[in-house]
Symmetry: C2
Subunit: 423 residues, 2 copies
């Protein structure tokens, strides 16, 4: 017997039929003798409708009222899920965030969970009742409804799992797991049986949109084991962790590195498109210069991705290159041109849109030298020019011309032996 939190996203609860299908997954876990809490998103499209109304009501709106409006979507799903579960003979009740309570700070629209009181949930689960909790929301110290920001339901699920000390948090979504790369680019992409938190984190932030980065961070910090699987699966298919620790269920287990016996050198290849690169040449090389460059960009709400700074030739000036989304290119150029007129000193600024960032990710890299070198070799063999390189402990990323993105992903996927075996 285990304690399990099951999370269903918007497409998995898009209408009553989908909710009923999801409820059958819940029923299976209950019948296996597990204690279950469920976290639900709003029905697909509903949050957008609510957001649309709030925007129509006023361009600049009180974030507290916005939260009260948009949080209602999950309240509807939670009640409907409880009704459907009861109809399937599974005792259930819904909990709005404020009823649990899920306590957050008062950063409305992007609140952070500060505490979840587990007692009520644990009591009801002990009574054999499935607790259906609204995702995406909580309550502020001022007793107002808060929301966690888009995609926050994953985070809610992980936080609930941590609070009730769950053995597993199952994230049901519209894909059947985490893949070595995007199957639309590489048909031979393989579903990973297991992936470590660190790898998942790199993949999530690199454009594999299966899980919210924030929820993976929380899962890693709280040691909550996640299973990513499809809600479209047959509800009678059981995800299972064997006694020897091996995973043979559907979906992908996201877990601590220690649980992964044979670590892949490279677990996946990711691709982020539409990156623009900007280079500042002849930036005065003294302490604080990086802050002078990136401070104004942060103030303008521009998210900078890769940053490369080389050692200067003369010890007096240096070149800095970084990437931003294509859509922020013009704005970034303007911000830095303006800054160049006051505090920031540089010789020239240049840049272009239309690059792609290709990354290889794997915890095995730590103990295997030469991954980066072999990556450059594989790309070179295909005649792909590398514009920028950055590395972390378990990831190597390169910036290339966007036109070569698919070619690069396929080449690296094959090179690292990730292609699925031919039948």
């Amino acid at each position: 017997m285990a304690t399990i939190v099951m999370k269903f996203g918007g497409t998995s609860v898009a209408d009553i039929d989908r909710i009923r299908h999801a409820a059958r997954h819940v029923k299976r876990e209950v019948e296996l003798g597990n204690k279950v809490s469920v976290v639900v998103s709003a029905m697909s499209g509903k949050t957008n409708e609510l957001v649309g109304w709030a925007r129509e009501a006023a361009t600049l709106h009180d974030a507290r009222e916005y939260d009260a409006v948009v949080a209602s979507g999950e309240q509807v799903t939670a009640g409907l899920m409880a009704i459907v579960l009861q109809d399937l003979g599974v005792p259930a009740r819904s909990f709005a965030g404020w009823q649990v309570p899920i306590e957050t700070n008062d950063a409305h629209g992007a609140a952070r969970i500060t505490n979840i009181e587990p007692d009520l949930l644990n009591e009801r689960m002990d009574d054999g009742v499935v607790c259906v909790v609204t995702g995406f929301q909580g309550i502020s110290p001022q007793n107002r409804i808060t929301t966690l920001g888009r995609g926050g339901s994953d985070t809610s699920a992980v936080a609930v799992a941590a609070a009730v000390n769950a053995d597993r948090c199952d994230i049901y979504t519209d894909v059947d797991g985490v893949y070595t790369t995007d199957p639309r680019i590489v048909p031979k992409a393989q579903r990973l049986d297991r992936v470590s938190f660190e790898e998942m984190l790199e993949m999530a932030s690199l454009g594999a949109k299966v899980l919210q980065t924030r929820s993976v961070e929380l899962a890693m910090a709280q040691k909550v084991r996640l299973v990513v699987r499809s809600s479209f699966d047959d509800p009678d298919t059981v995800p299972a962790l064997n006694d020897d620790g091996s995973w043979n269920g559907p979906g992908t287990l996201v877990c601590d590195e220690d649980e992964i016996m044979e670590k892949q050198i490279v677990s996946g290849v990711t691709c982020a498109r539409s990156e623009a690169k900007i280079t500042l040449r002849g930036v005065k090389d003294n302490p604080g210069v990086a802050a002078d460059v990136f401070g104004p960009l942060a103030d303008a709400q521009i998210v900078v991705d890769m940053i490369v700074q080389n050692i200067s030739d003369d010890g007096k000036s240096t070149d800095i290159t970084f990437t931003v989304p294509d859509s922020e290119y013009e704005k970034s150029m303007n911000v830095l041109t303006e800054a160049g007129k006051s505090t920031l000193e540089y010789d020239s600024i240049s840049g272009s849109k239309g690059s792609a960032k290709i990354s290889v990710v794997g915890v095995g890299m730590r103990s295997h030298a030469g991954v980066a070198a072999s990556m450059f070799k594989a790309l070179s063999d295909k005649g792909i020019n590398i514009q920028l390189i950055t590395t972390s402990e378990i990831k190597t990323s390169v910036l290339i011309d966007e036109e070569y993105a698919e070619l690069a992903v396929r080449a690296l996927h094959t090179y690292y032996g990730l292609d699925v075996e031919e039948a």
Copy 2:
């Protein structure tokens, strides 16, 4: 300066444009120096959508979950109304029922308000903030969301008005007041400037669907003066009670009888269609027989309207006639036929559908003899046969053939001098 509660129904908040129009009514009252709380319904159609989902989820659903689902509609409107008010420069915040709190019993789906804590609302109104409260809902002693039943937002508004000791509760709806009769039947129907609680109560329960009966009862008990007016009015038109107590605003003031100087003998003529009459002949005339008749009907959830029992000829048996909605006719006949086989003794049962109940209502009746007699005369003059008669202190009702309904209403409306003067 006064304290005012303003209630807007579903059609008055059907979309953002309508909400903005309603908000201009609120802004007017604030600019007049009044303290204002607003009670809102769900956007028109939204509650039906939510109810539809709950029914689709399960035919028999947990009333607590049903309430959690359907109560979300008002939460959306309250937030949007607060946003729009702020956009118009009016400080405002929304309150869900549980935030006020509006305490109710735990009769989910048809809860009764037990207490409203006025402190939070009063504090905020003292600060110049408009409190936008979700109608139709509250919170049970078990901390679950409850709903008051359809149309409950009127009741919420009156209860909030009573709690904050408001000078007036303005009910904004899609008609511009209470009329002497249905203007679709009698084009010469007049809007009443004032009507007493008692009269309004009789009219509401007799088919004038402007206000929920329950809200009028509460208003009468708590002495909350109501104004019924149209939300489609020009928001700059001020409803006003003069210093001498006369009312010269738009809409209809529903108030204590004492506030009405010259009492009309008859204030209105109402009509309820599609009534079926059922007669039991030779019912044993002993104590408890009425309970034997109406108990089984109540158990079958059939609402009985008029009841007439004559003194028996022989002191041993009597005839009982009553009315039910046409739609309940067959069910009622079956219930009583079944009851006749066991506890209930009668000689014969008969009945028919297709009657209409016509009533004249007026507090002046109390002090004026002969209203009933003159009513029968007026109907007789038009050759209309009376099937049943019932009376109360301020109302006389007759049952007639439904074909004559419009004729009867027009005749009585003219007879009692209610027709609007020709221009």
